[in-house]
Symmetry: C2
Subunit: 333 residues, 2 copies
């Protein structure tokens, strides 16, 4: 059974953000632009190529919504919440730059990747630069907040390695997949939501609930991203379909489809698939019927996130946070 929030939001577009959150998100954007500045124009250019290309700013939005929803008007640490949101987006951007080097990614956010545009060396250094900027920005925080951020960064690297162990490896299981995305995606969402609730001055059980909320939103977000890679509209997602199959990444549809149709392994293990082969592979994944199961998993994580969100006092900010989570379960673009 769908949780009421999923049903409510799946049929209509996400409502606009509460004014204070929208204001803070605009400040995050301005602060991000400041953090890209460097004595070396080239660094600003490479980092800006990615960061200024937009992106959905899902992580900063989550941080700000959790902060406002958990603060219930006590906004003493509003500036800190904005800085935490900036730091998280910088870390995320650094990992995107490095991921493109690892995967040889040619396209990102609908245009040629930094790797393609600026080459390996400058893309690598620009990732380190963004990471260092985030590190500097975290100096203002208390030890536990810094530790949450840094440990999420450690998780990201361990997730990357775990994923590479299962690249083009048809023995990958659902448990392997879940561990990869816990480390690669959910850890940063969880650290962000935990930090936001802590900065809001919430009680420990609410901080833990928001961490769990971030975890589930991260898992829902990643599973939805995996689904879009198979069934999304490139004009809306800004990237071609089938990247996971082409790169041999064990995405959720692929992991489930390998079980339903073991013959798919032949495509999954092969390097250098032609576009027509990728398209044929995607169609074959679709025919296994796993896409419904993937969508159901997204909804499950959204429901779990909503249960945590409901522990907060009712407010417009809480509604908006629920809408963010529920929006992930809406029909993919």
């Amino acid at each position: 059974m769908l949780c009421p929030c999923v049903e409510a939001h799946a049929v209509r577009p996400a409502p606009p953000l509460p004014a204070a959150v929208a204001q803070d998100l605009a400040r995050v954007e301005a602060r991000l632009a400041e953090e890209l500045l460097s004595r070396e124009e080239r660094l600003s250019a490479v980092a800006g190529h990615l960061v200024r290309a937009g992106g959905k700013r899902v992580r900063p939005t989550l941080v700000l919504l959790v902060f406002h929803a958990a603060a219930a008007g006590k906004l003493a640490r509003r500036d800190d919440a904005i800085e935490a949101a900036v730091a998280l987006e910088l870390i995320h951007s650094a990992t995107l730059l490095h991921d493109d080097i690892i995967d040889g990614g040619e396209t990102r956010r609908g245009r040629p990747s930094a790797l393609r545009t600026f080459g390996v060396a400058d893309t690598l250094v620009a990732g380190d630069f963004l990471f260092s900027r985030a590190f500097a920005l975290c100096a203002r925080f208390e030890a536990e907040v810094i530790r949450w951020a840094a440990e999420a960064c450690v998780s990201l690297t361990e997730g990357e390695i775990l994923q590479s162990r299962f690249r083009r490896n048809p023995a990958v299981t659902l448990a392997d997949y879940l561990e990869i995305i816990r480390r690669k995606t959910a850890a940063l969402f969880e650290a962000g939501a935990r930090t936001a609730a802590h900065l809001a001055g919430a009680r420990p059980e609410i901080v833990a609930a928001m961490a769990a909320c971030g975890h589930h939103v991260g898992l829902a977000f990643q599973a939805r991203d995996d689904l879009l890679d198979v069934a999304g509209n490139p004009a809306l997602t800004g990237k071609p379909r089938g990247i996971d199959l082409r790169d041999g990444n064990p995405s959720l549809p692929i992991v489930l489809a390998l079980r339903a149709d073991p013959g798919l392994a032949e495509l999954f293990v092969r390097d250098g698939l032609a576009t027509a082969e990728v398209e044929a592979g995607l169609a074959r994944i679709g025919r296994t019927g796993v896409l419904g199961a993937v969508a159901e998993r997204v909804r499950e994580h959204v429901r779990a996130a909503c249960l945590e969100i409901r522990r907060l006092h009712p407010s417009r900010d809480r509604d908006a946070l629920e809408a963010l989570a529920a929006g992930l379960a809406a029909r993919p673009a």
Copy 2:
């Protein structure tokens, strides 16, 4: 004129470290081993390949010597000094892993580099892992210490980019060279020495003096390293000679030699020099007579470092710190 400390140490091997410093250095080594541990064995293997290969631990030694020399027996923050030394070595190791990707480095510390052994992807992620570990470790420190470390990291990336702007570019000047090594080498030495004096509870003018000391030790260290790349003994340095010329890196001997013998530019701009050409280039650099000027520059920075060190109260720790600096001005191996 040589400063007395340089003359005293140039003719005999460096004295052993004071017992407390040697103990702390052993603890740094043990803590480094702990920080390499990961849920992903592969990360421990890649990071350990570099970190366990030894290295001179110059940065941790400098941090510990400055701490003990400036603390004058008040060792309340001894554990913090050890952790700062570990963090610095982790950051340095992360940059070595990433530098090898940027330069295509095949050899490091006398054996095949991590890049050569484990490939680009895992080497890149292992660098990020070490960097994240350093970030986590810094959580225990006050904001200013974290900012010094993070700003040194930003400098490192800006130095890398500046260096790449002058790669194989014979227009490089001495001023360009100095700015590159200020950012790429001296910034981390300076941050380490500043942090150590701060943790020792030293007065602000002593903290500033130790930062200046770190700066000069860093510059001396790099210029000496540049000299060893031209005139060192590979059996002792653990790496082949001529890497800078082969990679087109504007090292101090190259920058000075390009002025004395403009014809050298022809070798400096060329990619893919044969070993014989590199050796011929090194001999040609030697014939310009610039190596004496490079050695003199090393001595100048050692003298400047020693002047700062002399601001500390006399002690065995201070003597050992002076010996570390002076050792850089001894005849290259």
